[in-house]
């Protein structure tokens, strides 16, 4: 697809991962989706996974559009169903390196049930959630991650619902790797993704991600870098933190880090193949 004729040595290291002919992309200034994808596409090279094996499955929303900009096998699916779609891909062709990268509304509202069951089964997937606390693409409606008191176009008097702490949910449901970063912690995020790519089983990384236009503007963080500045000032890295104690509250520290690393838990595919070995007469 890439029609660039520049010698590879002169190319930017991520050039081969991009569908350059589709640029400029559709995301707003200050959005955290781009940096998150940047970290994700740098990680396979770090750990020696060939681009041909890398698959990106997304759902619906701003982040969902990412699969169309990257030069890998990309699947832009339906709202909430990226995880089961990815499970089908991975189980039918287990040599693929399958990542689901999608938004908080997609993964935890309409797709929440699929998320917890994929954790429970320990399907071999990396799931990255760009959590921007809001429905960005549809115009700033309430999400299950919107913080208490925040304003949204469907919560004009302020949100009255408690929000999900998604790393806690992933941990409780059995994910083998759980981390949280922000889209301004690029080097740490990239390292975390690389580490997760080398593990097997259901791995989850939450990336707190600014949405200046549809979240910041309504919540006293109107400038493109206001949310990034909130992240910068409030972040505290606490690897191994108890995920029940890291929920996000304005005015309190944002706890980042890799919280969970479980080893020795067989993946769904391994369990099924083991079962097959028992059933098949040799």
């Amino acid at each position: 697809m890439n029609t660039q004729t520049t010698a590879e040595s002169e190319q930017h290291p991520i050039e081969k991962w991009l569908r350059s002919e589709r640029m400029p992309h559709m995301w707003c200034a200050g959005c955290g989706v781009g940096p998150t994808l940047y970290a994700w596409i740098r990680a396979p090279d770090r750990v020696g996974i060939p681009r041909e094996k890398v698959v990106y499955v997304s759902g619906i929303g701003c982040c969902g559009r990412g699969s169309g900009y990257l030069n890998v096998d990309g699947f832009h699916t339906t709202h909430g169903r990226a995880i089961p779609f990815a499970i089908g891909l991975k189980l039918a062709r287990p040599e693929l390196c399958v990542s689901v990268i999608s938004g908080d509304g997609d993964l935890f509202s309409i797709g929440g049930n699929h998320f917890i069951h994929a954790c429970r089964r320990n399907v071999d997937l990396l799931v990255i959630c760009t959590n921007n606390f809001i429905y960005g693409m549809t115009g700033g409606q309430l999400a299950p991650t919107t913080l208490l008191g925040d304003r949204a176009t469907t919560a004009p008097y302020g949100n009255v619902e408690p929000s999900f702490s998604t790393p806690h949910l992933a941990d409780a449901a059995g994910a083998v790797y759980v981390a949280r970063w922000t889209s301004i912690h690029l080097r740490r995020l990239e390292k975390s993704i690389a580490e997760a790519l080398q593990m097997k089983g259901f791995r989850y990384i939450e990336v707190l991600s600014p949405c200046p236009v549809n979240y910041g503007r309504r919540n006293k963080l109107p400038e493109p870098d206001d949310i990034a500045e909130w992240f910068r000032q409030s972040s505290v890295i606490r690897n191994g933190a108890n995920t029940s104690e890291i929920s996000i509250e304005k005015g309190k520290p944002l706890i980042l880090g890799d919280f969970v690393k479980r080893t020795g838990k067989p993946t769904f595919y391994e369990v099924m193949k083991e079962l097959e070995g028992r059933v098949k007469p040799r």
Binding site: E52, D73, T78, F85
Partner: protein, 383 residues
């Protein structure tokens, strides 16, 4: 290791015949969720797949099940799910995605009485129109309907072949009656079963466009991990698979998605015409109702009434050219079906101006008897 194809003579329930037909067709990925009266298909597959290297997953719901079979198909597997009305309703979302992304896969709907939870354990044919347009947007789909366990086996294989050939989700629209009636099923030797595989790209990696069709309007299909680095989306897209949400692209894409089915009616449509040569009255039927319909026509012939039978094995696309042809000859079409008139309306549309169409409706629950159909044939013959 047991053979995948169980060549020989069997006494199988329709639902078992469907599971074995899928295996014989090369299906090795099944995702589903329990539901009456379809569960025996998943149960049988869960027992058989570990013997033959297939992947069976019982998902958390039907929304996930159909998403997973689309994903598995993109990884190169022949995939299937099986459900009944309530689950089929949930699956409409990703049936649309399968249509838009052009994914070969098979969805079995063992119909029960509806709407809603309806009659879980009793038969119906109420989902005919839902099968055609249950997901949003203008599209064409393929749906086949068997009348017996033997035909269920045969038709299941054909569903996979049509899905692969036309890059489209195919619905096997059966019912509780067929699923839960047992009968003789003859499975031919493996090499006597025709298997169709999807077209693969013949161009170099850099030149591949996932939605550039050949002359038959069907694009060759690369799979994930083959190095093509293609992208696909449920959004309106151009030949490269890139989102392109303009009126022009929508017009071109949706016309092709419909026309790739409509322009191959002769290949897809499968009907059985009996006693039609001199018929004045034609009974048009499908699924389990074809059996009492056939009997009723025999009764009519015994009584000197020129009746014939048109059995539709292909429900969608509709056999419009067949009905149109016979409409010039017959005076009446009689359509017995287990709903309040669905295929009846299609027949009536094609017969308009040429022949009259009569519906024998039943809301489901139990079959229509041969005598009930015969009585209508006799009544019409006296007009």
């Amino acid at each position: 290791m047991r053979e995948a194809v169980q060549t020989g003579r069997h006494f199988w329930y329709g639902n078992i015949a469907i599971a074995e037909g899928a295996i014989a067709a090369g299906c090795r990925f099944f995702a589903g969720y329990p539901i009456t009266p379809a569960s025996e298909i998943a149960e049988h597959v869960s027992r058989r797949f570990p013997e033959i290297g297939g992947m069976f997953v019982q998902f958390e719901d039907e929304l996930a099940s159909i998403a997973a079979i689309l994903g598995a198909s993109w990884a190169g597997a022949k995939s299937m799910t099986a459900t009944s009305g309530p689950g089929f309703s949930l699956m409409q979302e990703n049936i649309g995605l399968g249509i838009m992304m052009e994914v070969p896969t098979v969805i079995v709907n063992v119909q029960r009485g509806g709407p809603s939870t309806g009659l879980p354990t009793l038969t119906a044919q109420g989902d005919v129109m839902q099968t055609k347009w249950g997901s949003h947007g203008p599209y064409e789909i393929i749906a086949l309907s068997p009348d017996s366990p033997q035909e269920a086996f045969n038709v299941t294989i054909r569903c996979f072949n049509l899905a692969e050939k036309y890059r489209v989700p195919v619905v096997l629209l059966t019912s509780e009656t067929v699923g839960h009636s047992a009968g003789k099923v003859v499975v031919p030797p493996e090499d006597a079963i025709e298997i169709v595989e999807r077209k693969k790209p013949k161009v170099p990696v850099g030149e591949y466009a996932p939605y550039k069709p050949d002359e038959d309007l069907i694009p060759p299909m690369a799979c994930a991990g083959e190095g093509y680095a293609f992208t696909t989306t449920g959004l309106t897209h151009n030949e490269k698979g890139y989102p392109d949400t303009t009126a022009e692209t929508q017009e071109k894409l949706i016309r092709r998605l419909n026309d790739k089915i409509r322009s191959h009616l002769g290949d897809i449509v499968d009907v059985t015409e009996e006693n039609m040569e001199d018929a004045d009255i034609a009974v048009v039927s499908y699924g389990q109702v074809s059996r009492p319909a056939k009997k009723a026509v025999e009764m009519a012939r015994e009584n000197g009434i020129k009746a014939g039978s048109i059995k539709l094995t292909t429900i969608w696309p509709f056999a419009e050219h067949i009905i149109h042809k016979w409409a010039k000859q017959v005076e009446y079409f009689i359509v017995p079906e287990l709903n309040y008139g669905q295929i009846y309306l299609e027949v009536k549309r094609e017969a308009a101006g040429e022949a009259k169409t009569l519906l024998i409706p039943r809301m489901g629950g139990e079959l229509i008897t041969p005598t009930e159909i015969y009585n209508e044939i006799e009544r019409m013959s006296k007009r």
